[in-house]
Subunit: 190 residues, 2 copies
């Protein structure tokens, strides 16, 4: 028998694939069982309910998001370049053939009416991303008011790319962010 950690990972990754592709409510627990190769009994011993599994999937998505952003930032030298690297990360993501928008936004739209846990988990990841951007804005020497503007650009790029179906929004948002950065640094010289 596979150990709990492995089973847990298999279930979360399988559910993530299915949820992201088809939507959460459209995927039954039996489909998760088939995709993960883990029995229903085992799944329910690892996750007390589907709601808990959804939250675990969102946490897993957040780890992947954080890792992707961090990897993209590593290749940048300055805080300004790290900020713009966010949009380079988005650009690569938008070009993946199975890109279907931000899983957090999708889950929020689908489940926020029903699950408080989902609402909170989604809000937490958006707040964490906002804090990440705010820290880079501070390091770049720009006024704090720039941070939410950049975060809004990143959010908007994700929904625009999902709905219109092309990667262009990433470059457009990146250009806008660059303009905003230039304007902010101009007003706040060293």
């Amino acid at each position: 028998m596979i150990d709990d950690t492995t089973a847990r990972r298999q279930v979360v990754e399988a559910a993530d694939r299915l949820f992201y592709t088809r939507g959460v409510q459209a995927v039954g627990m039996d489909a998760v069982r088939a995709e993960a190769g883990v029995s229903l009994k085992r799944i329910y011993s690892l996750f007390p309910s589907k709601d808990d599994l959804i939250v675990a999937v969102l946490r897993h998505r957040r780890q992947m998001w954080d890792a992707g952003i961090a990897a993209s930032a590593e290749r940048a030298a300055t805080a300004r370049e790290k900020l713009l690297a966010v949009f380079d990360f988005l650009d690569g993501w938008f070009r993946e053939p199975d890109f279907r928008g931000c899983a957090f936004i999708n889950a929020y739209g689908e489940l926020s009416g029903g699950s408080e846990n989902v609402r909170r988990t989604v809000r937490e990841q958006k707040e964490a991303f906002g804090a990440y951007v705010a820290e880079l804005v501070r390091a770049a020497g720009a006024p704090a008011s720039l941070a939410p503007q950049i975060a809004i650009l990143a959010e908007g790029a994700q929904t625009t790319a999902a709905i219109l179906g092309g990667p262009e929004a990433a470059a457009q948002a990146r250009d806008a962010a660059e303009t905003l950065l230039d304007a902010a640094l101009e007003k706040t010289p060293l």
Copy 2:
């Protein structure tokens, strides 16, 4: 008996309220019947399926959105002010107590995996809004590349306001749009 036009309107408005508040899949047709005061038989004679009703609701939402944007633009004199008026409209909307994000984005996240009709209807409204912004950008004498940037700000403000739960994103996006407008017009003088 009420005529078809009235019944249709009652059903669409009732469904809109329920779908927007609780999510589409969480609302059964029987709940729509109760809220609208129109029998199931009648509903199914007006809309062949729930999918058709969803599309009708989205079209209704689009009319309300277009009207709101137009009313906000009417109070503005120049093209530049009309562009910024979009964010004033958003600001008022975000402050409504039952604001729960953009119905189109929510529907897309919830249903795009299953319904081609929903996908297309959502895409159409985003494209229409993009065209509206593009026309104003042109009238303002700014380069065309500014238009998608402003549209992305509007999209991002909507999801940010929905998830974080405050109206601040509207003013933040408005400030960003103003900065982008200034920078664009500076580079492209008359």
